[in-house]
Symmetry: C2
Amino acid sequence: MQKIGIGLAGLGTVGTGVYRSLLQNRLLLTERIGLELEVRRIAVRNLALSRSVKPPAEMLTDRWEAIVDDPAVGVVVELIGGIDLPYELFRRALKARKPVVTGNKALLAEKGAEIFELAADAGVPVFFEAAVAGGIPIIKSIREGFIGNHLQSIHAILNGTSNYILTRMTEARINFPEALQEAQSSGYAEADPTLDINGWDPAHKAIILASLAYGFWVDTRHVYVEGIEKISAADIRFAETLGYRIKLVATIRADSNSAIEVRVNPTLVPKEHVLASVNGVFNALMVRGDIVGDTLFYGRGAGQDPTASAVISDLAQAAIWIDSGGKAFGFTPHGLYGKCLPTDELMSAFYLRLTVDDRPGVLAQIAGVLGSHNIGISSVIQPESHETPAVPLVLMIHNAPFGRMREAVDQIKNLECVKAEPVLLWIL
Amino acid sequence: MQKIGIGLAGLGTVGTGVYRSLLQNRLLLTERIGLELEVRRIAVRNLALSRSVKPPAEMLTDRWEAIVDDPAVGVVVELIGGIDLPYELFRRALKARKPVVTGNKALLAEKGAEIFELAADAGVPVFFEAAVAGGIPIIKSIREGFIGNHLQSIHAILNGTSNYILTRMTEARINFPEALQEAQSSGYAEADPTLDINGWDPAHKAIILASLAYGFWVDTRHVYVEGIEKISAADIRFAETLGYRIKLVATIRADSNSAIEVRVNPTLVPKEHVLASVNGVFNALMVRGDIVGDTLFYGRGAGQDPTASAVISDLAQAAIWIDSGGKAFGFTPHGLYGKCLPTDELMSAFYLRLTVDDRPGVLAQIAGVLGSHNIGISSVIQPESHETPAVPLVLMIHNAPFGRMREAVDQIKNLECVKAEPVLLWIL
């Protein structure tokens, strides 16, 4: 039986999960793939640290180069995090013709184009199922399962932390700071939750999905990203009255043939839409293909074990690749002239909440500004309020380009009758 | 650019979809896989038939052997249906070292063991994504995505026709014959809907899933199968009162290490369970792995286009296999000592509806029989009824082995106070 040597770069949460699961289900894996997967070298930052798993001391090194260069290592698993150092690791491993498995979404979003060019030049595959929605085999499904489809859209909840916070804000009617604190004390948010909350973690994932689906590497600068920091309990309540839940949704869409849309932002999702009932730390993706129609995938997006499951699936594929000397695959560019729609041209219906003086004429003034931007109002709601003298005013806006909408809001915000920063949310 | 020749055996609904989609998305596929997929030969039963797609006349033949033997054909797609003839096709194609793509669930359920032995001997892969839940890449996900997991359970709705009928019975409060007729006139049920309704279509799919998950080919004789013919509007209503929906659920489970459970039967699903909200012709699978946890897949299970999408994904993989001369894979036996639990030992909670005399002492008599079989009652409901003199009596039963439950029901049915055939349903 051929043995395939694995080098783990990083023994943090996910690395520990991979190491433990490989031991736990070792026999099963061997039987299923006809190859033995054996961890041979592990690079860690601090050799002295006490850990929940105890690999033999001689397996550990504090130099990642040592695992890449080790002739006993056939596949390298990059679980270091960050950008520059893992990028160096990729360069070195691919040059040595060793497949790399990673869960590093930030790296792929920032350096995907370079990495897959290196991989193509070397003829060596790169695997990254763990980078998007760990427990859900979405990379495999998009790349292989839907290979015959033009993907028309993907709507997804890709960040468990922000979804947990929004779920708690909805259920317990608490505000953002309180929900964040709760998420942190329950272990669902990191001490520094910046990337989860400001939308960039799901944006990195959306970039990977969009690139796979549309065949060109999407530039981070062309992605519109908004986080959940500004969502208030009041908006969640008003949205509820209107039949919506607020979710942090990644939207990837190709309406026209000329350009695609990639954005992540808090979005009003109709209550009966399946994404509206995805709660807590779960992830879900709704994928629409021109042949397959609508499909939905749902599962745990992060955490030690689901992510380890994805890494192991990639390891099995890398091992089969080594054993069969097959062709490299990974990211195949096929949309070389693809481009992203400018943010200003993104079309959506919107929810606009204003805080205004409670006096006649105010609505006419606001409607006037919207009208002058050729923006149509579909309904106006004045929610009951005990605040005085300023009151909330919610406007539901017909499909309009985001750029024009933004201009109108800027103008409205400067009206004398508007008393606080307007809240503008997208509607699914 | 290498061209891979395809032979289509069968140009019915799915064959037509495959032919049309291959033409429609030809460029995309070529760009994605770097190979050209070209239909070269098509076998049909009746050459004279007028069709919605018009392949060149010289492409058509009425002998399936002609496409297998054609040296221009590298991959054979079996879409004939039935058992004996397709089995002959598999033998001939695998002998000629040509990969076969199929959506034939009955064939795999009946002859899977033989087919995969032939494939292993020939070193040629067999692909069957289209056999289970067409639009959902579940075969790929189980075989590759969850390869590192012991699968603990799969609960699935795998037949669109019966799910449509049950959905209509629930929504419109109509009885089975009426809902069936509606399904037929809407095109959601075939003229002969036998396999859809009696549970054998989903049972074939469950056998394929169980075999993949547990590594030994499950014998059809060890699968407990019950259809939806006996479900009445009354049971759906009573179940609703108790907080359940009735669905035709395939259950695949490995509770112990010694044996697995494979069954398909109408099942009371708690309303808040995600399978309860899968309506109409949709399919859904809830897969639980020991590492990945719970995941859900949802999409169209059948129909021309979703099935074609699955066939094309398999064709792409077969083409890559030919191009790279990789190793064969398909079904890898790894649970050689696996076996199925005897039907009598399957454990479940149950719903038992009786039609009984409306007089004192009846409940005591029935409870007595259950007690003598060591079966516990969790609740008793006497639904309101305008029927006289016999009335419905619904008992919710604690977890019990099916065999003992069946014996008790046989005895109850012969009591003088029981006036109609008892209805026994499983609870999820």
